[in-house]
């Protein structure tokens, strides 16, 4: 009875503490690391949808390519985020800032990685009003503001620290079609696929990891990967449109 009571109390105290504890990341020297590399493909060619433009057409034009499906001739998919999700120790993240530009009425880049502790440099290269709203994607369509900044004039740039980790969507409230995605990472182990759908993540401490593969149009999948010292673990995936 006593034990049970104590146990119940411990659980009552520690479970919430565990749930609420933020994932920690510890920087260590990685000497015998391995890598993960691969190619993300589409099962069949897909046409990139055209975005209709209904505001500021004088400057923005009447339509633009949505850039959702950018495929190479061998069906490699560009702009796929590949991120080692459950990693608690590893190299320090690079000291690079993420430039997020409002340019020709779209965001550049469409998918980017930002590193916690570094900066967002949010720019407006257009002669019209833009605002840039970053928000954590909480699931079920819920979103929590990270920053929402007005950029009323051309060549304005605002720097803000990258503080909140996780997958974030980027919107311009004035132009509903504009969107981008930022993965804010504590580790350096998050990348975006190139024009051919290729990616490589280096210097990962050996171990088993969950790797998130995310694409705006195809959706998301998590795969388990074992990284061995001095070796490259192959991680390929083929998405098909449902």
């Amino acid at each position: 009875m006593k034990k049970l009571l104590l146990f119940t109390m411990m659980v009552a105290i520690f479970i919430p503490a565990m749930l609420f504890a933020e994932a920690k990341y510890e920087v260590i020297d990685v000497k015998n690391g391995g890598s993960i590399k691969g190619k993300i493909k589409a099962s069949a060619p897909i046409k990139d949808p055209v975005t209709e433009i209904n505001k500021d057409q004088n400057y923005c034009g009447n339509s633009q390519a949505s850039r959702t499906y950018i495929l190479s001739s061998d069906l490699g998919v560009k702009n796929v985020l590949v991120a080692v999700e459950d990693i608690e120790k590893g190299k320090a993240a690079p000291k690079t800032d993420l430039i997020l530009d409002n340019k020709k009425c779209e965001f550049e880049p469409l998918v980017g990685v930002a590193y916690v502790g570094q900066k967002y440099i949010i720019k407006n290269s257009d002669p019209i009003f833009h605002n840039t709203s970053l928000g954590v994607m909480l699931g079920e369509g819920k979103r929590r503001t990270v920053y929402n900044l007005a950029l009323p004039n051309k060549d304005q740039a605002i720097e803000k620290p990258v503080r909140i980790a996780g997958m974030q969507s980027v919107k311009c409230d004035a132009h509903a079609w504009m969107r981008a995605y930022v993965y804010a990472s504590k580790s350096p182990y998050a990348v975006v696929t190139d024009d051919k759908g290729n990616f490589e993540i280096k210097d990962i401490p050996p171990g088993k990891y969950k790797v998130k593969i995310w694409h705006e149009g195809f959706g998301e999948i998590t795969k388990e990967v074992e990284v061995k010292s001095g070796q490259a673990a192959e991680l390929d995936h083929t998405f098909s449109k449902k």
């Binding site: 006593k2 929590r144 920053y147 929402n148 009323p152 909140i164 409230d173 132009h175 509903a176």
Partner: protein, 264 residues
């Protein structure tokens, strides 16, 4: 808690240890837990109807119709506290509000949203409600630490020139340069070219504030107007101009909005 403690003492041999543990525990968590507990009871009687038992905004009255000027009916949802984003703060864009910010909203209610005032409650009771609301999102625990100065509250210190004709004239220029009319319209009626496609973060259409309706939802004071575009109104599309305008220009803008609201 007190009751169960005595029951245990009489029932369990060697319960001294448990008693001590409980006592220590109650010392650590009791002061806060008590007010949040008190808050819970009040929440259940006053707030649950709209904000729901889980705090997710899905109470019995989860959609409130809200008629605005242009013959359009906009839906309005009670705040989903599980998201952890708040509109009327004195903290910068994307930051958690201060307890005092929440207390003000709870005390005054929110005009034009059906959210009633609770001015009849004591300070302690309102604080209890605030503490209880904060249990719905893990964000309050996760972001307890230092934010590296990012979330330092803004300073609101109204200068004497607010409302003067020179300040109104300067404010009119700021309004133009900052392109507020893109959403709020030339006359500030909320009918700018971007207004009809504005959506909030849950995907529902949202009205840009109509200045001719005089009172902002977050309050009627010039200080509250100043805060609105300094901090931005999170989750709504209303951005922060903290990095686009210096303090004087923001107060000049207050003067101009007073004119738009026909208060000068």
């Amino acid at each position: 808690m007190v009751e169960s403690r005595f029951k245990m003492k009489s029932g369990v041999p060697g319960a001294g240890f448990v008693l001590l543990f409980l006592l220590a525990l109650s010392l650590v968590v009791a002061p806060k837990a008590y007010t949040a507990d008190e808050g819970k009871a009040l929440y259940e009687s006053r707030c649950i109807l709209c904000h729901g038992a889980k705090g997710d905004g899905n109470g019995h009255v989860s959609i409130l119709p809200k008629t605005e000027k242009f013959g359009k009916i906009w839906k309005l949802n009670p705040r989903d506290f599980t998201v952890g984003a708040f509109k009327w703060r004195t903290t910068p864009s994307g930051c958690l509000p201060l307890d005092a910010d929440l207390a003000k909203i709870v005390e005054n209610g929110i005009s034009r949203t059906y959210m009633p005032s609770n001015a009849d409650l004591s300070r302690d009771e309102i604080n209890g409600l605030v503490q209880y609301i904060k249990t719905f999102s893990p964000r309050w625990v996760e972001e307890k630490g230092d934010t590296g100065g990012v979330c330092t509250p803004i300073v609101i210190n109204k200068p004497a020139f607010v409302g003067s004709p020179e300040s109104v004239a300067k404010g009119a220029e700021v309004w133009k340069k900052m392109k507020c009319a893109e959403c709020h319209g030339d006359q500030g009626k909320g009918d700018g070219p971007k207004s009809e496609s504005l959506k909030d973060d849950s995907g529902h259409p949202i009205m840009a504030f109509d200045f001719t309706s005089c009172a902002g939802k977050g309050g009627v004071s010039p200080e509250r107007t100043y805060a609105a575009y300094t901090t931005g109104i999170d989750g709504t599309g209303m951005p922060s101009y903290a990095d686009s305008l210096n303090e004087d220009d923001r107060w000049n803008l207050v003067s101009y909005t007073l004119k738009l609201m026909h208060k000068l």
